[in-house]
Symmetry: C2
Subunit: 349 residues, 2 copies
């Protein structure tokens, strides 16, 4: 796993960030302030920062354009759109989940109030469609449809996630389906929408979407592992945060369904009223591990990463088999897709 | 003013409602349940009703198609889209405004919780773009851009409305600008997007947008009058509701700025802490009237209606002046646009 930030993330920021900044400049001044704060462009009072997200979804979109043999700047509207959709969902999720912190700062609703965060989310979602609709490509209509289906899947994933909190019989399959909606859908969209906008062969676009879908699942599994065993410096959250909030994350749900003694004790802790003590949190983490939740999740994350990377091989194997077949991936694009896949599932920076 | 429901509203419901129902059928079951409840298709537990909104925005969109000489069904995706955007904004506004009632029933957040209402709003907004992106018209990209700009204006209007609540120096001009965003923008979009999708001459589309913009302002002014002097049976809200919630509606803001003795007493009541008594509410309504807030708003509503109708004359006056000029409005379309304009500003059904 790579410990350094891949080059594609830096290049991408230079290309896509101006488009996102230009988009939020179209908003009314207050909504622009809230949006730009959330995006990390300035402090709550408008003082500029050197922040901003990593933009990994945008990076995948620009790589998709290059996979289609196009210049990355052709996919900038799509790259900006996926980042805007990602940030719309963060804004609204933080309101719904009562998460008061995001990227080591107060989340938007905590800084400005709930209504402002809802409105900023709405605005970013609208801008995503606006930028794509402005793309002067006949393929934009397909990209728009993909983006809107993705929004539906995001909503379904968050709906399921919230409903799981009130149930104690959530199955691993249900949980994985929720992850596909909540996380993998936008990864799949990000990885394929650039190729789609640049008129790539259908097989290339499809394989890139599957690459993104598997990678998204792997990313979420790693995120769930970090939510229990990650250090606060890396996650930006308190230690054992996901256990404190009794989140039905994948390692926990696996452990609860493992049918071993550790599972029963874990269930007892998860059902107990009130805050868990530090000792109980440490015990819960050990129980998840003893019931196999950690090793299963680590193994599955690796398997999903392998499945993602196998999609790149499939593109190359299909190349040249008939007239409609895709071109092989340019060697540098292939290398960057592999690099970025390891980066987003490593999360060790 | 007409007291009966114009025919175009019934025809439109038969044409557009299946498209909206089909759209929400694409959502995950729970989000579909919340959305259909809000739309009036069923009770909170899913029991079907014979409800549903009037769909006046959709009616304007189909009339726009007919104004362009096209069959109304060509504009169904646009008509469904404007209704979906309208309902997304109602869902989110009710959360932000803490309005627990909508159309004589608990609002969606009151029935299901805040998160479900936020998610249903997000879903409907996404579906609006999805339906338009699926429209098999080369003009769909223009319609999409218009819709997304409208979302921005809606957000700006709601942002301003919420911020006005915390200020006691809001000017009439600021208030009217807020109304243009919060209400007139979607009216303008609804009235023009059908013509746009059906490739009407630019002048026709532009005039229909202006017709909608003026009509939207007139509609909101009438709504503000009903918020003070309407009966609960018509408005579905408690009597003097807007005064109880100290809303900065147009009649109130006009009155506060009128520089007369009644304005000072009204300001005193609006700034007083705690709930206003029944007597104080009656006094406040009388003060708004004494300061000229009622008559100015009534007069301005009439003026905006006249400006709206004058746009229809302009289309006919432009007709035939050169090759790019619009065709005159078909007589039946013209009659229905006039009828509907009186209906939405009468609000006496």
């Amino acid at each position: 796993m790579t410990a350094t930030i891949p080059e594609s993330l830096g290049a991408l920021r230079a290309l896509v960030e101006p488009s996102i900044r230009g988009a939020i400049d179209r908003l009314d001044p207050h909504c622009r302030l809230v949006s730009g704060y959330h995006l990390g462009y300035w402090e709550a009072d408008g003082t500029p920062t050197d922040g901003g997200g990593k933009g990994m979804r945008a990076a995948f979109t620009l790589l998709g354009a290059r996979a289609a043999g196009a210049r990355p700047d052709r996919a900038v509207p799509a790259a900006a759109a996926v980042e805007l959709v990602h940030n719309y969902s963060l804004l609204h999720d933080d309101v719904m989940d009562r998460d008061a912190e995001r990227r080591h700062r107060p989340s938007a609703w905590a800084a400005y109030g709930e209504a402002d965060a809802i409105l900023a989310g709405d605005a970013l979602l609208g801008l995503a469609f606006e930028l794509l609709a402005e793309a002067a490509e006949p393929t934009a209509t397909w990209a728009l449809r993909t983006l809107s289906v993705t929004v539906r899947r995001l909503v379904a994933g968050q709906t399921a996630d919230l409903r799981f909190e009130r149930r104690d019989d959530v199955t691993l399959d249900e949980c994985l389906e929720m992850v596909r909606g909540k996380t993998a859908a936008l990864f799949a969209c990000s990885c394929s929408i650039g190729a789609m906008l640049c008129d790539a062969p259908a097989e290339t676009t499809l394989r890139l979407a599957r690459y993104g879908e598997h990678l998204g699942v792997a990313f979420q599994l790693v995120d769930d592992l970090l939510g229990i065993w990650g250090t606060p410096e890396v996650t930006g959250k308190p230690v054992l945060h996901d256990l404190q909030s009794r989140k039905k994350s994948i390692p926990v749900v696996y452990a609860l369904g493992a049918g071993v003694a550790a599972a029963d004790r874990l269930r007892e802790l998860y059902l107990a009223p009130g805050e868990l003590t530090g000792d109980q949190l440490t015990e819960a983490a050990a129980l998840v591990e003893a019931a196999g939740g950690r090793s299963w999740t680590e193994h599955e994350a690796g398997r999903q990463l392998d499945l993602a990377l196998a999609q790149l091989d499939e593109i190359d194997q299909l190349a040249g088999t008939d007239d409609a077949a895709p071109a092989p991936l340019p060697a540098d694009v292939r290398a960057e897709l592999i690099d970025l896949a390891h980066f987003v599932t490593g999360r060790d920076r």
